[in-house]
Every structure is written in structure tokens, then in C-alpha cells.
Amino acid sequence: MYIDQKLCEKCLDCMPVCPMGAIMVKDKAVVIDYETCVECGVCQRFGICPVGAIQQVDEIPYPRIIRAVFSDPVQTHESTGVAGRGTEEMKTNDVTNLFQEGKIGFSIELGRPLGGAYLSDLEKVVKKVTSMGVEFAEDNPVVQLITDRSTGSLRPEILGERVLSAIVEFLVPEASAMEMIDEMGRFIDSELDCVVTMSVISRADAEGTCAFSQRLRELGKKPYPNGKVNIGMALVGNET
């Protein structure tokens, strides 16, 4: 994104709209700082500029395009090999059965809910969980950035890119899930230069309740009282 200086009337109304704080005044001009901007496109979509001075280049070059793919939810860029930023994770689990009994899914999301993250921090997490022998959820654009599955190394040219958020998703046996929570909590707090959310995915038991949630509370993990639940709608009509 950039601001067309010939059009900009310096009203400054656009400055607070940027979630990264990338719009700033430099040398008496309102500019979008190239390094801070993650190409999320909010400044343009918001329609805040009365004269249309906020503009996008015709084509964002690689590897910078990675920023848009991981930051702009309305953009998909196939040329990067990353089809969209997100994943279906548990949302379609009543169809995919990816998260089964006995396994716990983890979502470790860097840069959220604020501030974004460099992909060098993403690589640290991927390498860490690779060393712990996790099973990656393959339906995730982060997996496509891994060049060496034995170490968790990412494409070297993208490590300096900054994104609004990126999620590492993997599964572990339920028996080792609590240890994973503790270990990743320590690792994130000590090794990463960003904010991170950590979440877990568990299949419901036969009564529709969640025994793992109860165990979390018993061990003092304090999950939020709110969250997401797949209610099995895709199975309606297919019951045996």
C-alpha cells in the first residue's frame, strides 16, 4: 500500500485505521511505512480517504506478497503456493474427522490479537514443534512454507517478512497435551518477539461434553469460558 502524495490532503484521518500503526507523518508527508505495513488492505477498504489517495501497487512482488496472503482475509494469491491464509481446522471436522478421540489439536497463532509477527518467529515455533515430533495439520498454508520437514526450516527468503498473523497447527496424543501446553507457553514467553494465542481442539465425548476441558481446569490452565463448537450439522441425515 502507498499514499499518492499528489492526492493526499494531509487530513490525517487515515492514521488510526491501520492496525499496525504503519501510517505516519514523515518529512511533512503522510506515508505508509513500507517495513511496518503488512499489506492487509484495511486502509483502502475502510474508505476513509475522501480523495482516494490510499492505493495499492499493481502487483505485490514475491516474497512481500506473503504479507498480503497472511494478513488480508479477502486476498488469495496462488502464485505463492499458499491458497489463502486460513484453514478449515475443526470447522469441518464433522466431515474430515481430522481431530479424533485420543488426539488434541493445537493452534499457535503468532501476532494475534495485536502487533503482527515476523516469519522468523514463525520458523522458531515450527522448528520447536518439529523437534517435539508433532503431526502437522497439512491443510494449513504455513506447512507449504516449510522446506525441510526434518528440521522445520522455512523458505529463507520469507523470514524477514512481517504478517498480521500466522497459525501453526498440529496434533499430539492426548496423553502428552498438558506437557505440550506447558512447554510451548514457556517457549513463547522466552523466545518470541510478538504476542501469541494458544488454543486446543478436542473431540467431544459420547455425551457431547468435553473431558479434556475439565482436565484443563483441574490443572489450572484457565481456558476461556467461550470458544468454538462444531455441532455436527454435516452429519444430520447420515446418522447410523
Partner: protein
């Protein structure tokens, strides 16, 4: 994406404050579920959500129904639990073969399941925020910015709008309408944001 998972400020002490309904077709099924997704979009709109995917981009009902099978996903926020109950019941009667995820208090979601004869299939639970948490804004601002799952609501925008409200240049309702605009998925809850803004001034 973890999307609606990390919303802060909800509490079992204030039940039924909001439920977000997400309907998603597994990508391999997308081509076979065109009519189903259009029908679900129409059904969701009938129950008058507080916000719905595409609305912040200026889309009307026709565009939302057209886009639903293309994107394969629909999201909408409700502040009325009874409306969600009826909506889920109606989607169930359509037997769409489409996944539905409810976001909100687990106790509210359980009520919806119990009343509609459905059962929780898979849970996604947030363990909270880690890392450089000293960079987070204060609690009320965080409640607003976490209403966009893609982190597109700027805390600076929240501050700017609070200032305008304090100066009498904008109402809390108008401020809330502004703050849901960055979130294209339509999961920002204007009623909750309006209430939170009222608590901030």
C-alpha cells in the same frame, strides 16, 4: 484461522450476550453444495443477524447469497439466543450436509444443542494470550479489537472513536458502526461494541 475463538470479555455471569454462527462447506464438497449454501444464506438473513459476512464491505442480501457458495463460508453475529435456536433448527431441517460452528459461551452453545437435538462434535478452546503481553491494550479496547478474528480493528481507531464520542461528535452507536467496518467477515458485534464504548467514556 482461529477467527472467533479469542474474543475477550464474555462471561458466564452474562449469558446469551452473543453467539456467532459459522457455516462452512468442506472444500471438496463446495461444487455440490451451491443451492444449500444459498438457502442457508437466505435463512440466516431471515433471522436478522446484527452483522453478517460481506455487510461491512457494503454487500446487500443478494450479493451475500451469491457469494456464499463461491466462498463456501457464511458468518453472522447474533445477540438474540432464541433467534440462533430457531436458525439452527431450520438449518437442521434442511439437512444441508454443511458444517456449522457456534462461537460463544460454551454454556450457551450447549443450550442450543440441547434444544435442537444436536450434540457437540468438536471443541476449540482458547488458553489465552502469551508472549509479549505487555504490548496489549487495556481490557476494554482488547474486548473490541478481538472481535475481528484477523486483527483488523486497530486499537488506535478505538482510541480515536472514543475521543470523538467524548467530544460529542459521534454517538456510541455510530462509533460501533465504524469499528465493525474493518472486519470483512462480519463478526464484529455492533451491539456489544456500542455497550463497551459506553463503558469507556
Amino acid at each position: 484461522m482461529t477467527h472467533t475463538l479469542n474474543r475477550t470479555g464474555l462471561s458466564d455471569a452474562r449469558p446469551a450476550e452473543e453467539i456467532i454462527v459459522l457455516c462452512m462447506v468442506h472444500r471438496a464438497e463446495k461444487i455440490r453444495k451451491i443451492e444449500e449454501m444459498q438457502k442457508i444464506a437466505k435463512t440466516i438473513l431471515k433471522y436478522k443477524p446484527d452483522n453478517i459476512i460481506g455487510e461491512p464491505l457494503g454487500f446487500g442480501p443478494e450479493e451475500i447469497e451469491t457469494m456464499a457458495p463461491i466462498t463456501g463460508v457464511l458468518t453472522a453475529v447474533f445477540s438474540d439466543k432464541d433467534a440462533v435456536l430457531q436458525l439452527v433448527e431450520e438449518i437442521k431441517s434442511q439437512r444441508p450436509g454443511v458444517s456449522v460452528v457456534l462461537s460463544g459461551l460454551f454454556s450457551d452453545i450447549h443450550d442450543v444443542c440441547a434444544c435442537t437435538g444436536l450434540q457437540e462434535h468438536t471443541y476449540h478452546m482458547s488458553l489465552g494470550i502469551f508472549g509479549k503481553t505487555d504490548r496489549l491494550p487495556e481490557e476494554k479496547t482488547l474486548e473490541i479489537v478481538t472481535q475481528c478474528g484477523h486483527s483488523l480493528i486497530s486499537p488506535h481507531l478505538v482510541s480515536a472513536i472514543v475521543k470523538k464520542i467524548r467530544k460529542g461528535k459521534m454517538t456510541c452507536e455510530e462509533g460501533a458502526r465504524q469499528l465493525i467496518k474493518p472486519c470483512a467477515c462480519g463478526i464484529g458485534n455492533p451491539r456489544r461494541i456500542e455497550k463497551t464504548l459506553g463503558e469507556m467514556i
